[in-house]
């Protein structure tokens, strides 16, 4: 079986799930990696070292900035001439568009956010590849098949193991031509103040509504009730951020915290946000709505800190603390600092 693996990168920075897709492709057979853009030598080298049998490089100034149309047309042309059985993508904002468009060109379909693949005895038939994916915000799982060829699928971060990198490994390098049918122009870019990448984070420290619930704080004069609530929550999220930074992790949030305006949508776990699977998940002041639990329950170790001993979040946790997060979090940060020698 031949699989195309699309490497998603932004200004040369590869989305780690790209390599996880490569590992998955190798487990199915031949892996052909696609690298689009300019100045991508390092990515090509990494692709071979992560196990690519072949790397197809499309180096063209028309592809310097990601734009959906020429990227999709280039991908569709390569898939038409090289006829892979499967095209794998890391699930990102870009690949969602790119795969969507290319599927229209190739008259096939995209299986999104696939958590598991099962192969039947005859892998030559597309229908035999059964993908498990979440629907209804993860409240239900469905097994789906794609009758088109190639089958296209996106995989979320940390759903599949990252392959080992073997320095110096090489393979077949092929250059291909770009399609240049761009319909959009990129005029500018500003990096976010704090890049949030929950999907790839090994540690996530999350806050919920409880983070705004510190009556001992006095907000600055002149704030109305809502502003004061947000201000209080921000002081709480500062404590959460300290712990997350110390542990090299990311800051997450429940829907209540996002809807309350405490942090931006990018931090949201579960519900309409993201499904995450870090090694360590620390839930602070999150009672545990079903959507949130669905979004984080695949984490390896879950720690819950909540005032309410009956909070549902404790039913998914390995370790629980019934207490005031405003006291426990800073104390935990201090204890960790000492023990980690930082």
């Amino acid at each position: 079986m031949k699989t195309f693996v699309y490497i998603d990168h932004f200004k040369g920075e590869v989305q780690p799930a790209s390599w996880e897709a490569l590992g998955l492709a190798k487990s199915f057979g031949t892996a052909v990696v696609l690298v689009f853009g300019t100045g991508t030598d390092e990515i090509t080298k990494a692709a071979f070292e992560y196990g690519a049998d072949e790397v197809i490089v499309v180096d063209d100034s028309a592809l310097t900035d990601y734009r959906a149309e020429p990227y999709a047309s280039t991908l569709s042309a390569l898939a038409s001439s090289s006829t892979p059985d499967l095209i794998l993508f890391p699930a990102t904002a870009r690949t969602r568009e790119l795969a969507a468009m290319s599927a229209v060109d190739l008259n096939t379909g995209v299986l999104t956010d696939v958590a598991k693949f099962e192969m039947n005895s005859d892998p030559s038939t597309a229908l035999r590849m059964v993908a498990t994916r979440p629907i209804y915000e993860g409240k239900v799982l469905e097994k789906t098949v794609c009758s088109g060829k190639p089958v296209m699928a996106t995989i979320p971060g940390r759903a599949f193991p990252k392959p080992e990198r073997v320095a110096g490994k090489t393979g077949t390098l092929t250059k291909a031509a770009a399609k240049t049918d761009a319909l959009t122009t990129v005029q500018g870019y500003s990096a976010s103040e704090s890049a949030v990448n929950l999907g790839d984070a090994g540690v996530i420290v999350s806050g919920g509504r409880g983070v705004s619930n510190n009556p001992s704080l006095t907000p600055p004069a002149g704030m109305d009730e809502k502003q004061a609530e947000i201000w209080r929550a921000q002081q709480g999220f500062a404590l959460i951020t300290d712990l997350a930074v110390l542990l090299g992790g990311a800051v997450g949030a429940s829907r209540a915290a996002v809807d309350g305006g405490y942090v931006t949508y990018a931090h949201q776990v579960g519900q309409t946000g993201k499904v995450v699977a870090p090694d360590l998940y620390i839930a602070c002041g999150i009672s545990g709505a079903i959507q949130h639990l669905v979004g984080m329950r695949n984490s390896k170790v879950i720690v819950a800190i909540n005032k309410d001993a009956d909070a549902p979040v404790f039913k998914q946790a390995r370790y629980g603390v019934v207490g005031d997060l405003f006291q426990i979090i800073p104390a935990l940060t201090e204890a960790m600092k000492k023990k980690l020698g930082k």
């Binding site: 999104t112 009758s147 990129v186 542990l247 959507q291 639990l293 720690v303 390995r318 935990l332």
Partner: protein, 256 residues
């Protein structure tokens, strides 16, 4: 400006959705306009207010989906169209994109099509880009801000790495994210107008297309295993003592 907001009807996000006898059920929870699509309607109305023109809400779904369209009308959309056909029960996203494109053509085209980023039910988020591809129009996805200037539109895309400014000629397909602004509540006048509105229902024949066999199909539904774990409660005399014990437990897990 002629703007079309594409919406869908889904079970309320608080609904207890589960798999039962091979079907998805949600008890007696209400069906509502997909929450992300409220932002689409909001974004479309903002552009109408800035530039003049009309907003048409477009939906594929069963007869019950009229209620979602009425919500869009109550928010301020000028008119609404429902595409409903018995042949559309097994629609996948490519199929939906083809039907939407056909309906958009039947409406007489538009300057701008606005989608929400994804739906709560399928959640794939593929339909906006696929509709753009079928129409052959530029796709401006995940817009947090929209600015139309003459015959072109500039959006600020909210992506994983930050914000990107992207421009395209109209007509274009957009999907919007929450930063577009909180969706307005339907006004009293809006609700009254919506309750009186007649919403045309178009069949596939009406939009000059046929249902294509779905490429993606479901073979099984499951409820995610929600096993309760044995939680170990950490207690102590002081926050410092609790934190110290907890830190040891975490370190012993070797996950850092």
């Amino acid at each position: 400006m002629k703007i079309i907001a594409c919406i869908k009807q889904v079970p309320d996000s608080e609904a207890k959705v589960k798999a039962e006898d091979g079907k998805v059920t949600w008890g007696d929870a209400p069906l509502v306009i997909n929450p992300f699509d409220e932002y689409a309607v909001e974004g479309a109305l903002q552009q109408k207010e800035a530039l003049g023109g009309t907003v048409t809400a477009l939906c594929i779904g069963p007869e019950s989906a009229r209620d979602a369209l009425k919500h869009a009308l109550a928010m301020g959309a000028d008119d609404a169209v429902l595409v409903s056909d018995a042949a559309l029960t097994e629609l996948d996203t490519v199929g939906a994109a083809r039907v939407l494109a056909a309906a958009i053509n039947k409406i007489g085209g538009a300057d701008m099509i606005v989608f929400g980023r994804q739906t709560l039910d399928n959640g794939a988020g593929l339909t906006p880009a696929q509709t753009a591809r079928v129409l052959g129009w530029p796709m401006l996805g995940l817009a947090g801000q929209i600015k139309v200037d003459g015959g072109s539109v500039t959006v600020e895309r909210v992506i994983e790495e930050g914000r990107q400014t992207v421009n395209a000629k109209l007509p274009a397909v957009l999907s919007v994210v929450q930063s577009i602004g909180e969706p307005r509540y339907p006004s009293f006048m809006g609700i009254r107008k919506a309750s009186k509105a007649t919403i045309p229902v178009w069949s596939l024949t009406d939009v000059n297309t046929a249902a294509s066999a779905p490429i993606i199909s479901r073979v099984e539904l499951m409820n995610p295993p929600m096993q309760e774990k044995e939680v170990e409660m950490i207690t102590g005399e002081s926050p410092a003592e609790i934190a110290d014990k907890l830190a040891d437990k975490i370190l012993a897990e070797k996950v850092l």
